[in-house]
Symmetry: D2
Subunit: 438 residues, 4 copies
């Protein structure tokens, strides 16, 4: 119990720093693939703690990146990051949106490779100007229009940095290797894939991750046995036909609007899957140019989901066939682009049980819930799948935090006392995995 | 006017024979491609009038036949024809449904090739047992269940034979060549194509054809300037998917029923054509095996039309693409079969004007109408198109006849006095075309 | 254990009778609502054992019957039943398909109301003429074309009669009331509803039912804890439009074919339900009269399912709205008829555990499996839902039996030694429920 | 011929004024219902010529106006008009977009009521900045962004004012009443309806109208016998459903996106009409908010057409039913708004023949074409229909003019020498109708 007491003392000592750090990140939110300031900050801190640090193409596989912003948006975000204090050399290395960071710490004694994954990106939301909104009262609300940390990733990054510092300070008591992964673009489930494909968890024996709030809405709650990650794939399909005057020569048109409408209907008729949960949604359809013109352009945005990667693959294959057939149906072209995705999965049961025990031992959690069905998608699952597929164990926790409003809402905020809860839980669990035995 | 008087006298002299002949054919109706008895009768009579007679593969191009009955149905019809008095040798030559007959008469003096086309098949209709129905009163109603001359082709064949006889008797007064074409399977517009493809009108300078009734519902009326034949194509599309239990494993099915439904909807959404009339109809859709099984089989029967052959071609091409795309949409197979078709077109104006003049000269028509829009499909148009395309002239007439009920109705009957009208009009017009001058 | 030994002895003594009885019923299969001979036989036997017997409207609620055959078919089946030895008075009472039978036995000592449900109908299947087929070898195959016991209900009825006899013979050892329910029309899940609505299980404390085979394919296996009955509803929807010539006046038609196609596609696009399994299937679509006629008639057969009655209700409501909207879309009428249905549900856990214990005690089962997911629909669930909803307990068992081919297959047959297994299990379990204590 | 010579002289004398006037209007284009400057100019000039002038609600029926801009847009346009020299009192009277103007001139001698209709609005097009564009070379191109006279209405208004002036000067030679109608919002066929409904042509015996260019692309050509105006109706349909998370609770959504898609497909499947040309086009479909949200909002913009008002009415009724049914199909609401429309029709043959004669007499037209099929929609047809329905005659002419680019193109310009052609034709034709005899 010596280690536990040491960790609790260390975290309690840095409580104010945690809040300060979180608020700094909150004021400078950056959306997926543009986390140049955040990632630079992370990289510099990790270096200062003695970590080997991977950035740029060492952290992210370029051609596996999904849902990238335009080159112009990326360049503007780089400039802004530098103007807001980011290290220009690091920002330069991240050109093209390569904003993932990996920190590695080799302890002297041999032991397992244990990893923690954090996410850094914000949402496409403009933070409320409501005076009662806590970040407004305390003066740390977003300084970027249409960008806001409305999902708590500012907290995740903050906790990650604290854990990295504490474990580095405890290096004589630990064994094996600690890897800390800061990923970009979790929103839209776009970022994990490109880091996982770069092999960053290929040698990992134990992987942890966590989210504030979600189904744990009370500070002091924790869920260690999370199941039911839905695998998901995000597509954009752009149909291109031929315009024609709808009165004078309708037969000369190639109707992309109807192709998209036809696709939408038939996509929703993909059969249910008997092996588990499946989902399909065409969430956006923008088509046509004018009332009296045969619609020559159409864009649809859709997503598939499945309670297993296989079911999602079934949905994805059906969707692709249907999109192509809908184009053929109206004699138009279609370009289908995969713009995001996550694997399905569930926590490794043994690791989940281990975490529950640790949570009890810490003694700060009022309510340690049992199995918790996630029922949604998080691209942590890409890392989880990789680790589990080579025989490792992975687990995702939900750390309870009182919320001011739902996730992705412009009034979102979380109870900052949860920062210390999460830091303690992570440090203690990781320390108990970073041993030569077990 | 000598010739006209001669013709009138000849027709008037055979009035009773006309009625007798028509009633014999009416009693023994034969549907498309099974006109073994009728065609044998025609072939024998033409031979006896001195015509060179082409039957079997000399009259009909085998691989251009559309919408054939089953081999069994054909064989049964052959047996029945023989049992009803047909010449077994001729019936044998027509094996496989080759029931077209061409009669050729070369006159001594040189002159144009002039043709008359008649159709011989009946409808898939069971004649009414209503006692007031004229054929029942006179005892000449159909002896075949589900077969009835409900469109007057018994009359057309009768008139054709009379015209053939009279013109052969007038051989010293005529010049050039007379061809008389008796085609099978006009219903479903299936038969003309296979004779036209065999070249039977390739040398024809003038082609005539006629129909009783239709838009001319009063005996004594005649229309010589018929326009607006709708080109048409008939398709069957059979979709084959894979059955699966709809409760236990819906994802294992390949849904042919939905593919057919999807095809039907999108076929009807083929754009209108600015160059003229277009039509599409899916008239039948039969799909699925059981309520709780993913529908693995589906059949649809459809047709396209167009006021020109080009418009119909547009519709046909669109339909084919849509049928294939609907199959792709549901991952099923589709087999598309063309089962019928007719060209579009209009009477040659010069020949129409000539016929109007002849109709006036005969003096038996009370009402010679002007342009008459056909607005439907008749496979006479296949012959017409061929003749017109090589510089010849073609015209289709409607010969007025009081009707007991509409065409294809089980109560259909036409005023038999129209038989003589038509025979006179045909003989006189043809005689005026079969001259060395003109 | 005295009772158990007594039961085993009694059943063993009647083994040959069980087989004889089963084969008699097998030779005279009757489809849903036409079980006149079977039901008469059952009613007579129950009477002879001293049961109070309810037939006709006392057993079945007339206006709750779903999926009835035509009046003619019912009358013909009545005549046949009498010709095959059925009691004419009983058959008369069942006129209109009222073929349900309830037997009631009041024991002297007070106690619970305990019920057993059996089903009597056969399938719409013609039994194979394969010489190797056991019923052919033994000369007891179906004497009715297109009717065959291909789901083992002949066995269920046989076991039911044996249980009724044995329990009546043990009347001095038992307490409370025994009710035995013989239902018609289980196939298509049509019959239970009309008996449940008549209140036949309103006073039941414990309800048992069973099926041979299904997921228990080895004689000697048994499943007592069956869960996951899918609630289901079966609909027929008949669309009526207006025919019109597709070439001459398409705008005058009202297209029932397209309404049905439109309904089919949109039915399959009913959203998935997050609370559990949902299903939709349009398994049949028959529409249109001729290729060139706007389709004025269409029939579709569909079913919805849900892992709970609520989810199925959601599907059912959506389906009804969509069918009506599809009719409105094409300006046609639609008549929607519910032709079958079953509730969702699972065995009462306490009763399931009790049955497992009894199965062990009997000592004849080699393999007593744990939870068994039914994953399909059986209208036993209607009775189960009623009993559970008023605080009673219900359980459905699967009794292992080697099968010659799958259920509903023309080669289906089951190992007749399973008859005794089931009779023993039923008698013993029921006897242990029919006590004054517990 | 005295009158003709007088007219020719008068027009020739004002040639420069015509061009100056046209260019002033061209520089200040105003889109539909915002023609405050143009209408004020017209009203002032008509007053100065001695006309009785109707503006505001005397000219336009408020609740029959279709496709109005927002209140803000109208107010801004009013301010701009005043800032560009419009009479503030007149602009005030036109508040709300009441920009129609009617001028009435009663001649001393009794005679028929003869009217001329002109249109004043411009297109939603930004005029090209191409230096070679004639209006740029001559310095009279549009000073308003996104507004341009790209359809020649600047010329129509100019000619109308010239005709009004000349006929007023010839008052002693004419009889009856002359009415000149300047309508707003011809683009989108929105304006005529609201003036026709106000009764402005209820007393008109002869109505003329004209367009530069269109099918007459050579200066010196003229078409007097225009037929085949397509009746048309423009709809907006807004669907409102309920959003829901597509992964977590799809069944809670009400899918407006699919309702709109379903509407689009089924609208295009409205049957063709045998009585003439029909058209349907869904030209725009905008739906949904995010990829992972059930689409709760959708907007579609559509139009129907027909070669007669009856056919268009059929299309319109079908469309309305389908839109409502599509909403019902997905349990969403729909609001349907008619935003434009025009009647079908053809020139009165007698008046067309009269105009041809007058065109010949003038002697300035090189090519007077025969029947000219319009094949599109113009809301002149609303006035035409009203006049013809009470027994009057109406005709629309196309006055040839060399064009720099097609109508509605940013490079559009027409040969200004056509202004005089049109003025002469109008003045002479109107003068020959404004007589006591005829």
């Amino acid at each position: 119990m010596e280690i536990l007491n040491e960790i609790i003392a260390k975290v309690d000592a840095m409580k104010d720093d945690l809040i300060k750090q979180r608020r700094d990140i909150h004021r400078h939110p950056e959306t997926g693939w543009t986390e140049f300031r955040t990632a630079s900050l992370v990289a510099e801190k990790l270096s200062s703690y003695g970590y080997e640090v991977l950035v740029g193409e060492k952290a992210v596989k370029k051609d596996a990146m999904m849902g990238l912003p335009s080159d112009e948006a990326l360049r503007n975000a780089q400039k802004r990051a530098v103007s807001e204090g980011a290290n220009p050399d690091l920002v330069e290395k991240m050109t093209g949106g390569l904003t993932g960071v990996v920190g590695i710490f080799h302890f002297a004694k041999p032991g397992p490779v244990v990893a923690l994954r954090c996410d850094m990106d914000c949402n496409d939301v403009t933070e409320t100007s409501d005076e009662k909104h806590f970040p407004n009262q305390q003066g740390f609300s977003s300084t970027h229009e249409k960008e806001m940390h409305a999902c708590g990733h500012d907290g995740h990054t903050t906790v990650g940095l604290a854990v990295a510092k504490i474990l580095s300070e405890m290096k004589d008591e630990l064994a094996g290797t600690f890897k800390i992964i800061f990923q970009p673009a979790e929103e839209g489930v776009r970022g994990a894939h490109a880091m996982a494909e770069n092999g960053v968890v290929d040698d990992v024996d134990y992987l942890l991750g966590a989210h504030f709030g979600f189904k744990m809405k009370h500070t002091g709650d924790i869920a260690c046995d999370v199941t039911g990650f839905l695998a998901t794939t995000k597509f954009d399909a752009a149909f291109t036909g031929k315009p024609a005057h709808a009165g004078a020569a309708p037969e000369e048109g190639r109707n992309a609007l109807l192709a998209a409408a036809c696709a939408a209907l038939n996509l929703h008729a993909i059969p249910r899957h008997s092996a588990g949960v499946s989902r399909i949604n065409v969430g956006k359809l923008i088509a046509g140019s004018g009332r009296n013109v045969v619609g020559d352009k159409a864009l649809i945005q859709l997503e598939t989901r499945g309670s297993t990667t296989e079911i999602n693959k079934f949905m994805e294959d059906e969707a692709a066939r249907i999109l192509n057939a809908a184009a053929a149906m109206y004699g138009v072209d279609v370009e289908i682009k995969k713009v995001g995705g996550a694997a399905g999965g569930s926590n490794s049961p043994e690791l989940a049980a281990f975490l529950k025990d640790k949570a009890k031992e810490i003694g700060i959690f009022k309510n340690i819930v049992g199995e918790c069905d996630f029922g949604a998608s998080e691209d942590f699952s890409y890392f989880m799948e990789k680790v589990q597929s080579h025989g490792g164990q992975a687990a995702y926790m939900m750390v309870g935090a009182e919320l001011a409003a739902g996730h992705h809402d412009s009034h979102f905020n979380f109870d900052e006392t949860a920062l210390a809860h999460s830091a303690k839980m992570m440090c203690y669990s990781l320390s108990q995995l970073l041993t030569s035995k077990k």
